[in-house]
């Protein structure tokens, strides 16, 4: 009897069971990315997606170049044939060299920054991004084979980017500062006031838990405090753009603009901190 009842409501039972599983998975790790475990099946998915993403990511540069060349040729059609060929050739050359020059400048800056660092680092290229509007992670083409491990901090020459939340053999996923799951202990350089920078799912960050009478002003530089075990001290996080002091609040809050351009990340440095006792 029970069997037939179950059979009759099979579709609802499948839906509810899967719904409960999804809710259980969600609530188990939603506020703590450190507890995010994708398991062997998730690693297999990443293993399949990462190489395809790497190929598509590299192809996108060529496609964009070819597309811009096509549109430029369309506008030049009315011009003199010799001039058109000359302009086409120069533009093609320019289009080919400009990304190389920009990449060169970025890599030089990154190399200079890397040489200044007392830590061992591994350079990686961003091969995938989270397309959703309210979370911020990127996929980097450097993993455990390159020495990268969970909770390793990630930087660019401009400043802190985030930290690794998953590491596979040839890839790692980086939780960026604007992600709502991100929280970093920080200091205001000028006044040494301490707080916690949290992501809001938007380009700007929020510093919470500043003392009520904290001396913080727009333009102040904010760096990591070194508390919390993941981030080493004195990595540049950003600069204060606004300070909020509401009457009756126990703490002061500030809005910070990240120093690193997190919307156009292409190359990053992962700080490898093998000897430290952080849960990984």
């Amino acid at each position: 009897m029970l069997f037939f009842t179950l059979l009759r409501h099979r579709r609802l039972i499948v839906f509810l069971t899967l719904g409960i599983v999804a809710l259980a998975v969600l609530t188990a790790q939603v506020r703590t990315p450190e507890r995010r475990r994708i398991g062997w099946a998730g690693a297999a998915v990443e293993l399949a997606v990462a190489p395809a993403a790497a190929v598509l990511s590299r192809l996108s540069g060529s496609v964009a170049g070819a597309w811009s060349l096509l549109t430029e040729i369309g506008t030049l059609r009315t011009e003199n044939a010799r001039l058109r060929a000359e302009v086409g050739r120069l533009r093609e050359e320019n289009a080919r060299l400009r990304p190389a020059a920009q990449e060169n400048a970025r890599l030089r800056a990154l190399l200079g920054f890397k040489e200044q660092q007392p830590y061992q680092t591994a350079a990686g290229r961003v091969i995938g991004r989270d397309p959703s509007d309210w979370f911020s992670t990127v996929l980097v083409d450097r993993g455990t084979f390159g020495g990268v491990r969970r909770n390793d901090p990630v930087v660019t020459s401009d400043g802190l980017v985030g930290h690794v939340i998953e590491a596979g053999p040839t890839w790692s996923r980086v939780l960026l500062l604007p992600d709502p799951r991100s929280a970093v202990g920080v200091l205001v350089v000028r006044s040494r006031e301490a707080g916690v920078v949290e992501g809001l799912g938007q380009p700007l960050l929020r510093v919470k838990y500043l003392a009520r009478d904290a001396d913080v002003q727009p333009g102040d530089e904010v760096v990591t405090s070194g508390l919390g075990q993941i981030y080493p001290p004195s990595l540049v996080v950003g600069s204060v753009v606004q300070v909020a002091r509401a009457a009756g609040d126990m703490f002061e809050e500030a809005t910070v603009r990240p120093s690193a351009d997190l919307t156009h990340l292409e190359e990053v440095l992962v700080i490898i901190r093998g000897g430290e006792s952080v849960a990984r």
């Binding site: 499948v14 998975v25 998730g42």
Partner: protein, 168 residues
């Protein structure tokens, strides 16, 4: 088994596309989601159980590959796949527009569940107007790509079925 492998490969290709080109190419700030169209198509063609299972599996893969909290996409796509499955036998599949309309409606459902669940756990604090704008735009894009994609997937599904029915 052949069908599962084929759909798995399609889901992987869609995901790779979503985390690379489609993460950058976002007309007016909204995302095109071919994986959701795949889930809706599976539901429309195979019914609510398969739709729900395909939705949950694809959503979980999407959570893994995009780095959002695990379970969020799983829940959203599960509802979309199940909803699409309820239309099996009710939607006239020969009509070119109906799968597009179904994809539009189920994108709205998927995003509502996704944003609602994210809000409930305190992670997504989206302004209502912005959430509505992004959702409706995504629904339009998905509706548009669903029209050719569904017909193509339907033909593929038919071929896979014939392949699995062939006597060994």
């Amino acid at each position: 088994m052949t069908r599962v492998v084929a759909y798995g490969l399609l889901a992987t290709a869609s995901l790779a596309l979503e985390v690379t080109w489609l993460a950058v190419f976002r007309p007016w700030g909204a995302v095109i989601d071919p994986l959701l169209v795949l889930v809706v198509s599976a539901g429309l063609l195979r019914g609510p159980e398969v739709g729900a299972a395909a939705g949950a599996a694809a959503g979980w893969m999407q959570d893994v590959a995009t780095g959002v909290p695990l379970g969020l996409g799983m829940l959203g796509n599960l509802c979309a796949g199940f909803g699409a499955g309820l239309g099996e036998g009710r939607i006239y599949l020969e009509d070119a527009w109906l799968p597009g309309i179904a994809a539009f409606a189920l994108t709205v459902v998927r995003n509502a569940v996704w944003i609602g669940a994210g809000h409930l756990v305190g992670l997504v604090d989206a302004p209502v107007a912005e959430a509505l704008r992004v959702t409706l735009l995504s629904a339009c894009y998905n509706g548009c790509i669903a029209i050719p994609m569904f017909q193509w997937l339907r033909r593929l599904d038919g071929r896979l079925e014939r392949l699995s029915d062939r006597p060994r």
